[in-house]
Amino acid sequence: MELTSSLPWKMEKQLQQLFGNVSLSLLYKSSIHRNGFKQMFDKCCNQGSTITMFYNSKFILGAFLFRSYPEEFNGISEPNSSLFFLFERGKTAEMTSKYLITALQITDGNLTFYCSKDKILSVESLKNNCSLHQILLDGLRSYTYSFRFSECEVFRVEGTKNKGDYISKITQAIKYKSNLLAELRDYKTYDNMVSEIRILLLGPVGSGKSSFFNSVKSVFQGHVTRQAAVGSDITSITEQYRVYSIRDGKDGKSLPFLLCDSMGLDDKEGAGLCVDDIPHVLKGNISDRYQFTSHKPITSNHPAFIASPSLKDKIHCVAYVLDTNSVDTLSSKMVSIFKQIRREALSCGIALVVLLTNLNNYSDVLQGDFLNMSELMISQNQRIVNKVHELLSIPIFNIFMVENYASELELDPLKDILILSALRQMLRAADDALEDLPLEEID
């Protein structure tokens, strides 16, 4: 007789994704391992993070516990992170959840989750009955105070990120992400000077400029997109100047920013973006889809040349895109190009920021509330950040870190938040620069 779970596969997949690529191992199943909660305790203590599930014909209630079951039968576990969730059968896509700090007690007849003094969830083994506290009821948007369950299962959760706050972070991240999205959607520039902020992505070949655009678009579309061709080759994959507008959702409105993707810069003579083209790009002389030529800058008689660009055509923010792992090997030629661009940008009143790509530990970049870069991250990458700061004379508050969508097919709210936060800071930097423009530059 083999044991199999009653958890629908789709929900298992959904949970695996929510908890960050974990796997679930069924340890206990009430219909097979009877005898009250003693067997449940025996099978499930000392197993690390667990999910306890209660099934009935209408819904599935689950409790994720980051810390192990209590160490002793009848004892109470240390309060720790837990997430309660509810699936309604037939509506598999929808799941409601509530994050709480709870302690668990298991006795022969009862299984009780405490949040401070409140019994959040109490389960009676004899009656197969679950009772929910008002807090849980509201959090899960459930209408049933108590229900009889037909089956109870416990799974071990393997591969959880090694921090108790991960799960609270994820649930908060989902909320914070929707705030960020709303903020970016409705962004208005200073004094409504322009309707769309133009952000130019500049950097060495293969540093992730086009990938950053794809990542931003993916966040707004909700799935991985590949509008900008990316890949690696001896020379830059991107050869055209592209001005990308991004829609909010599939058939939604255009967002209030444009990402301008350029050819990669190259150390080699006669390869990569022609440095003399950069001032033209900054001033807005070059139109979308201009085909760059490495050894020859654009001339004023080229059809793609815009002779008298207005404020809305020019670049409002330049982002140097650098691979975190290549900061140490940045050539002196590249640095001198950057310095040249910096002079140029400053004279035109353009904001300058740095975008570091390819992080190893992106989930630790931001503080718990996502409002700022975390101290830990800054100290871990202190050397890199300082080096960039010193090499390029960009203030530390304008150095952002992101992880592009490079291989994962699924979207991750923590990655999204980094990407969106960087974007928002770029818009703010551009705004400051616009506000600072001398009057004669404004048309």
Binding site: A229, G231, E239
Partner: protein, 421 residues
Amino acid sequence: MAVTTRLTWIQEKKLQTEFEGKKLILLYKATVHQFSYENMLKKCQDQGPTVTVIYSGNHILGAYLQELYREKRKTSNFLFIFQGTKMPKYKIAVHDINKLFYWSSEMNINLDKKVMTVDSQIAKVLGLSQNSISFQECEVFRCEDILNERTLQGVTEYREDLLSFVKTYKFIKPYSDLVNQIRILLVGPIGAGKSSFVNSVKSVFRGHVTHQVLVGSNTHGTSEMYRTYSIKDGKNGNTLPFILCDSVGLGEEEEGLCIDDVVPILKGHVPDRYQLHSKQPITPSHANYIHNPLLKDRIHCVAFVLDATSVEYLCHEVVTKIKRIRREVIKCGVVYVALLTNVDRLDLITKDDFMDIYRCMPVKLKLEAVHKKLGFALRDILAVSNYTSEWELDVVKDYLILSVLKQMLWAANDFLEDLPL
């Protein structure tokens, strides 16, 4: 200490396949749950078939117990040992976990003393010099069918969702009025599985495996004509929102598809059933040359089809051709993906892996190899397994094929969005 197995991915996979496709679920780990018979029993009794593994220095060995003694059926219980890449098995009489850990003389695992004793017969087959060995770790797993009813039902639901996604997909406005069907061009080395992919997609929507497109593996590539296949939902159903365009395979030197034909194909100048010549590209003077192709005639997404089992051995010439074509594709603004076929033939890959294909070690390594050799971004490489010798459809294969199609529809949508207004 985390409750995770010491078995490597490969070792676990090996055990899975040896025991009729079972998934292993770790129940007990001695270093976490203590070297105690009582603790082991609490965790492991009434759990159905089990695998017990002990780790002793360089030896990893264990027992598979079906534990059907209550049903009084004849059971097949085994002892196994890892020997390099091999894993010999020996039939044993012990048939329940109680005996294995408590009093069997044939083979006994004493947790308190951390010693396993076996009778001299077994010691001989295992190649042990003495009858007892001490061990440092002991793990007990529950066995579960990998493709059990629950997972199959789950995949079936997913398949249905994907089917309706593909059938009802609408492209971005205003192009949805101009383009009802997007054209997906398949390019790749000879024998990479381009035509097989067409057949596979047709099969999914037909409801049984079809072999309309002739597939062969001769060195010249079977298809010499440029063919476009509009695919129907069912035998007489609606047309689906995509057309698969099959080209001649890329070969060495002047063999196969002529690179200069790529741009006319991308731009929609080349008609269906056009006879491709490897040395002579199409010219506007050709009778069937399409002079003013509309947006709907153009290629909207390119799939570079590569065979997972041989992609590392692609010769320099073909690699160069692929990279050149990719340049042209990018220049034309067409979106592309790489399609890795035959992932089912990679070592140790079994059908259950299809549901989580991008997390499988051999597939991950292969994706890295393709990325290194050809420069495709990792997330642009999609894995698939074609219908080649089967008669009937398989829900798990369908799932992969449809997932790939979904990515292609999205990619084509990205192309349309990128068009200059």
